[in-house]
């Protein structure tokens, strides 16, 4: 047998773990007792109606097939396709996230360039940063008076901190030599910022953006459970209220997959801006 590469062996082992795990799961689910096999007493006590239970993987695959083959249907407020729900969530995440980037990156530049601005703003950042984003929700709902905008605000507030701190850190850490190169070439402040400091700090900034998008995706699920209406978080909660555990597990998987896609998009961006010294 030819020697497999580490990647191939890893992938193979991954698949084996998946299959073994799924088989155990499938086997561990007790079958529903048929009503005809019950005693009359059991049937009188309601044993004949199906009991809620963790569904086996086969049910989840069937559900996934059904949902993914028609992801964009819209049959009223409580029955929308998974694609529509995820679309709403991504829309909210990206709106809040882009607003946060528009504030955090310029402000981070300022903090990184100016020790005075750093000292002035640092206490606020340190106090505001550890606040759970959902703690802002009541205040946001009261002030903004719109659940949609409040959810976006919560994403904004949770994704601003890693980007702000990483930008400031990256900008402050730009090698003095590179700044001197800009100075000896008489580059103005704006050109120095865009041609030297931004590319030099870009890997650190993008790392902050990657952390932020991860947090934003974690928070949107919780935020949508609170504000309701649409979105993947609302969908999970709604299916829980319906006691449809198959859909709950399916949507949990979808949350993971979308999160992974967002993260790898930023991973790709990180590789683009990376440089070796």
């Amino acid at each position: 047998m030819p020697q497999l590469s580490i990647n191939q062996r890893g992938a193979l082992l991954s698949v084996v773990i998946l299959i073994v795990g799924l088989l155990f799961w499938e086997a561990a689910i007790p079958p529903q007792q048929l009503a005809t096999e019950m005693t009359e007493y059991e049937r009188l006590m309601g044993g004949g109606s199906p009991r809620a239970a963790i569904p086996p993987p086969s049910d989840i695959f069937a559900k996934a097939w059904e949902e993914l083959s028609n992801p964009f249907y819209d049959a009223g407020p409580n029955d929308k396709g998974i694609g529509i729900q995820i679309g709403y969530s991504i829309y909210r995440v990206l709106s809040g996230y882009l607003l946060a980037a528009a504030v955090a990156i310029p402000l981070g530049f300022l903090i990184g360039m100016s020790p005075v601005a750093y000292r002035a703003l640092n206490p606020y950042i340190q106090v505001l940063r550890p606040i759970s984003p959902l703690a802002w929700m009541p205040l946001a709902l009261f002030v903004i008076r719109d659940s949609e905008a409040s959810a976006i605000f919560v994403i904004f507030i949770c994704s601003i901190w890693p980007m702000l701190l990483n930008t400031a850190f990256g900008v402050a850490g730009v090698r003095k030599d590179w700044v001197n190169v800009a100075r000896t070439h008489e580059l103005g402040a704006v050109r120095t910022a865009f041609q030297v400091i931004l590319p030099a700090a870009a890997p650190t900034i993008v790392t902050g953006m990657r952390i932020s998008i991860g947090i934003a995706w974690l928070v949107i699920v919780a935020a949508e459970m609170l504000v309701g209406g649409t979105g993947i978080g609302y969908y999970v909660w709604n299916e829980w209220n319906n006691l449809d555990l198959t859909s709950v597990i399916f949507s949990i998987l979808m949350i993971g997959i979308v999160g992974m896609a967002l993260d790898s998009a930023f991973g790709a961006l990180q590789r683009v801006v990376a440089y070796a010294e």
Binding site: V181, H185, E186, P199, Y275
Partner: protein
Amino acid sequence: MAKPFLSVERLTQTYPDAAGGETTVFENASFGIERGEFVCILGHSGCGKSTIMNILAGLASPTSGVVTMDGAEVSGPSLDRGVVFQNYSLLPWLSALKNVSFGVQARHKDWSKVDVEAHSRKYLAMVGLEGDVVLRKPSQLSGGMRQRVSIARAFANQPKLLLLDEPFGALDALTRGTIQEELLKVWSQTEQTVFMITHDIDEAILLADRILLMTNGPYARVAESVQITIPRPRNRTEIVEHPNYYPIRNHLVQFLGQRSKVLSGQPSGGETQTPETVVIDKTKPAGGPEPEARLRAVND
């Protein structure tokens, strides 16, 4: 007397020290460099060579004193003074070519992209970098190639004064030799005025028209200006055959080994400190007339 092209007048640099007092790195240092001259400055670490370099580049300001170049006072970094830093200072996210054209673009804002690239490639070719090599990032180049790019960047801007801060300090001896010769070749094609810091005596003799010798700090001073009386073009294998080579070299070694210590730590007492010109020439008959009254022939 007319001012030299680059004139350093009564330059003083002091730093606050840990004890709350002041450390004087150098005081009232004065010297000049003529247009087209290649001047090296030799001295031990900590004598303030790099401080002088940063002041000439406009990256630092002296505690007192004035530097004028071509009649204008140096008061900040300028494209007229190109700098080659010891650690190359290439921008690592740009290719070698882009690192050079970055500087050319800054110098010639009205040039088209094609002109900028052609000009950059021309100077890269002068230091022996041609073809696909120039498209590599600095991390994919060897130390010697990186320093070549850095030299090409500085020359491509055709500054009035080129400042080299120990450009070959981080290179191995063989690479250093090759690049020194390339530097000489480029320099002879451009008539560039060069001021260079080095630790390497042989390098200084090979490259310079004149060597400024600095004593140790504190109160360092530019004590001597040694003329290199070896005709150009020079190359590293033939230069050692010249009768003036070893006398000059011995003089430098002796200065750095002993007199730089003996002469250190003497406050100037407010005097302007100009270097004493030293001419060592074994090709002239001993005891012959001295070239100029100010000059002292050392025939040891």
